[in-house]
């Protein structure tokens, strides 16, 4: 059942957001995109903090915002909960009163509101911190209080703005796992705005990727990671991506560079392969690889246990190699090498 049905159109002088968005009950959708793509604008439009220029926001069959018919619902009358990026817990209220704030404003008596808040804190494993003021809470605790505060009003739509961005790496790991559990229990629709692909892949059922105000790709994690459709998405999921014209087992990419692929293709296609599929050789290799070309090392960076080498040449690619290989091949910027990729490692799919 679709809970949120929205078409968000927001126009500013130099920017236009145009994003259709539908979220079902219990579904978690991640809105992913680079900085300035319009993610936060979309979230603020849904929350009622920024009016739409056109389009509509319909929640549970009820129009909240429809500029076409001059309809507008102020933020305090929307059944929408927001977890803001810096959590923004009220500094003058205890954790308990922060959570009780929403239920109280929605008409619960003081006692009932506080009982409900205590219940939520218990669910978040924060009972011992109920009386603390926000500045005496750790980042992870503050995040959970903010989540409890947003959920305590039983929102039909829950909005999370970069919920883990303010945390350090270690806390982020634990908090992400907990957040996953709590989002799973939320009966309403959830929209998660993030620029961190890992957050999106772990927390969301479906990804909506926007660039420059428009949706460039949409789908579940498996589909998006297997078949990226823009450079941004390819980089997010760590793939080399090229667009070109396919004919038989060849895809002509870049400046007419023929890339051999295993699948039979025709017409406009994407071709993608992981950096780990790229092998580097000091001389022209004589092995079985169908794709070989001379390349120049542009940069070498750490990437987990391996090193990521960026190569210039007929097609710019990233290659993952072991530190041993870097030493052996003396991979420094400017060094000339041969790159090889097996045709079976290159995935091709229609545009």
């Amino acid at each position: 059942m679709t809970v949120l049905d929205a078409h968000l159109v927001v126009e500013r002088e130099t920017f236009r957001l145009d994003v259709p968005l539908r979220i079902a009950a219990g579904e978690v959708v991640a809105l992913l995109g680079p900085n300035g793509a319009g993610k936060t604008t979309a979230l603020r439009a849904l929350a009622g903090l920024r009016p739409l220029t056109a389009g509509h926001v319909t929640l549970d069959g009820l129009d909240l915002d429809r500029p076409g018919s001059r309809l507008w619902t102020p933020v305090e009358r929307r059944r929408v909960g927001v977890v803001f990026q810096d959590y923004l817990l009220f500094p003058h209220l205890s954790a308990l009163d922060n959570v009780a704030f929403g239920p109280r404003r929605r008409g619960l008596a003081k006692r009932d509101a506080r009982a409900k808040a205590a219940d939520w804190l218990k669910r978040m494993d924060l009972t011992d911190y109920a009386a603390r003021k926000p500045r005496h809470l750790s980042g992870g605790q503050a995040q959970r209080v903010a989540l409890a505060r947003a959920l305590a009003v039983e929102p039909t739509l829950l909005l999370l703005d970069e919920p883990l961005a303010a945390l350090d790496a270690r806390t982020r790991l634990d908090t992400r796992t907990e957040l996953h559990t709590h989002l799973g229990e939320h009966a309403g629709a959830t929209l998660l705005v993030t620029h961190d692909p890992l957050d999106a892949l772990i927390l969301a059922d479906r990804l909506v990727i926007i660039e420059d105000g428009r949706v460039v790709q949409e789908g579940d994690a498996a589909a998006v990671t297997a078949r990226p459709r823009t450079d941004y998405v390819a980089r997010l999921v760590g793939l080399n991506l090229f667009r070109g014209h396919g004919d038989g087992h060849d895809v002509r990419v870049g400046a007419d560079f023929p890339l051999a692929v295993a699948d039979r293709v025709s017409g406009e296609v994407f071709a993608a392969f992981p950096p780990s599929a790229v092998a580097l050789h000091p001389e022209r290799p004589e092995g079985s690889a169908r794709n070989t070309w001379p390349a120049t090392v542009a940069s070498v960076q750490h990437n987990g246990d391996n090193l990521r080498v960026r190569l210039d040449g007929p097609i710019p690619v990233a290659a993952d190699v072991t530190p041993a290989a870097v030493a052996q091949l003396r991979l420094v910027p400017g060094r000339e090498v041969w790159a090889a990729v097996k045709a079976t490692q290159v995935r091709a799919y229609p545009v």
């Binding site: 903090l49 305090e76 929307r78 803001f84 810096d86 923004l88 009220f90 704030f101 404003r105 947003a150």
Partner: protein, 264 residues
Amino acid sequence: MLVWSRRGRALLWTVFALVFVPVVLAPLAVLVLAAVAGSWNGVLPTGYTTGHLGDALAGEQVASLSVSLQTAFLAGIGAVIVGVWGALAVREAPPAARRIADAAMHLPIAVPSVVVGLGLLTAFSRPPIALNGTMWLVVIAHFVLVLAFAYSTVSAALERTDPAYAQVAASLGASPMRVLWRVRVPMLMPAVSAAASLSLALSMGEVGATIMVYPASWRPLSVTIFTLTDRGKVFLASAETVVLLATTVVILVGLGVATRRGRR
């Protein structure tokens, strides 16, 4: 601070002491001594008495202290309320109106207090609004003089608070009125307390405008001290000053403690 060599720091402390001791500490010490001096002909008083302090806490003088306190509270409360309202209102106003209103609220800082006194005196000495000879002229003068300070204290604090807190409150279902009373004003409480302290302290020591407008029935302690000094009653004036100082300090410390307790 900012000087790291040991000798440099020692030198700095000496200079500081040389300035601080004669300019700030010595007058205060002399004042306290004078308040308990029996007679004073040499370098130090030749006899000590608690008589002056006793006099300073009796009859007419206590009435004068009470006038000071009442004036300070009335003017201070008024200034804090109007200052908070002004700061909130100015922040919401469109940019052009905002600049003008902000300058207007700061204006009394630029105007000498004697001018404020004279202005009030000439403006309200005749009908339709004749306040001449009433306590209200004193209270209004103090209100005008401390308002700018109260306003700028609260306004600076408001500038530092993230407007997103109000949006959070709204997203939790709070009406604009609730947002104001449950979030925006409570978050300003530390600044409100600071503004109240500042207003009280300023009002308790105000002379310039007060001396122009005070009626015989409403004479604040600061003016009493001035007239006593003028008439050569230096010991009694000193004792009054000590009382004024002590009262102000007690109130400020009390306010500070109350604020800190509220924030914990």
